[in-house]
């Protein structure tokens, strides 16, 4: 159906408002929740596979096992409100790629990949490169996001997440997430700006000197309103400190 032009629909927690505002006027919607195993979490060896249809609420309640699950549960609890989380899905959020959304600002630090399916079969897209623009992803128009695969984390993995919003459940004005796991360089992501998330594959410098490095990273993004720049720097600083920076 999707190859034939139908618009995929998952939780419709982003698509629903677009339909009501007449910003989206699809001819047909294909309800992905009918796909087998669309929701649910399985672990195979060192990889946790999260079905794209897994709701934010299921993740909040601990559907993802281990240290990576603890991190994801904390993030999930701060997405929107419980009735929205009860229907909204991690796959829908990622595919929608709202620059201010939560998962796109966190999943890149976990490593791993998005599993896409389409007429040409299945392929894996690294999560760090999945979001390519504002509301744009690496999915082809006839492809669907099927699952997200993230590596398990050792219990000692440290992380920091900082999100600024004035009211609980509001979309973020600036988000940063930093993960420091033994054996790999620390990773960071800066998101919720008017651009796709900035993924920093080696955030060692940020952990060593959060204030100076945050200022340098944000300056590198070009022109930005002063309040935005201040929030973005604060986000990186706080996340780095929580992940173990001095």
């Amino acid at each position: 159906m999707v190859a034939g032009g139908a618009r995929p629909g998952a939780g419709t927690q982003s698509l629903g408002p677009l339909l009501n505002l007449r910003l989206a006027q699809p001819e047909t919607i294909a309800d992905l929740r009918h796909l087998p195993d669309y929701a649910g979490v399985t672990r195979a060896g060192d990889v946790v596979r999260i079905g794209a249809g897994t709701t934010h609420a299921a993740i909040e309640d601990g559907a993802v096992p281990g240290r990576v699950g603890e991190i994801m549960a904390t993030v999930a609890r701060r997405i929107a409100y419980r009735p929205v989380r009860n229907r909204g899905t991690i796959g829908g959020s990622l595919a929608h790629a709202d620059p201010a959304a939560d998962w796109i600002g966190v999943l890149p630090v976990l490593g791993g990949s998005a599993v896409a399916i389409g007429p040409r079969g299945e392929r894996r897209i690294p999560l760090a490169g999945f979001v390519t623009g504002i509301f744009e992803t690496a999915l082809a128009p006839d492809e669907l996001l099927r699952a997200i695969e993230v590596p398990v984390l050792p219990a000692e993995a440290r992380w920091g997440h900082w999100k600024f919003c004035r009211k609980v459940g509001e979309f973020s004005k600036a988000t940063a997430c930093v993960l420091a796991a033994p054996g790999t360089p620390p990773r960071a992501v800066l998101a919720a700006l008017d651009r796709p998330p900035l993924v920093i594959e080696d955030a060692g410098a940020l952990l060593a000197d959060p204030a100076d490095e945050a200022a340098r990273i944000v300056a590198g993004l070009g022109e930005m309103a002063p309040w935005r720049s201040a929030l973005a720097q604060a986000a990186l600083r706080h996340a780095a400190t929580a992940a173990g920076a001095p």
Partner: protein, 165 residues
Amino acid sequence: MKRIAIALTVNGKAVEVVAEPREHLADLLRGTLMLTGTHIGCEHGVCGACTVEIDGVPQRSCIVHAGSCDGASVRTIEGFADDAVVAALRESFSREHALQCGYCTPGMLVVARDIVLRLPDADEARVREELAGNLCRCTGYRGIVRAVLGVLADRRAGSSRAEPR
């Protein structure tokens, strides 16, 4: 455009209805089924007035497509008439002046019931966090928070005396 035939359970009764292609569940409930206890405020998921239970958990009926509810079980505020937790909440809402015009109340009660059952140990900060998705233009929220905390406290006291719930 094709109309969509759907079969669902609403407040325990099986119903078969035909929905417009772009109809959302709140319109189906209020229009076709005349269950006007479900209120519509913003129609984009923000205000919480339209919150109902779908398959046992609170969801926004304004951003759930009616066509996606084929086979679903929906419970609106009318369906909680005999529910013990909602009965306790109704009493404490009226005691604490937790409503004035009543527009937000159906959604507040559905969410408040979920808080009471899912988070029996919730404190004031948690209750406020959980209620953040339900807007009230009248009361200033203090009465609503107190009403929910009151039911939580009563239930904690009750269960420590091992009374039936």
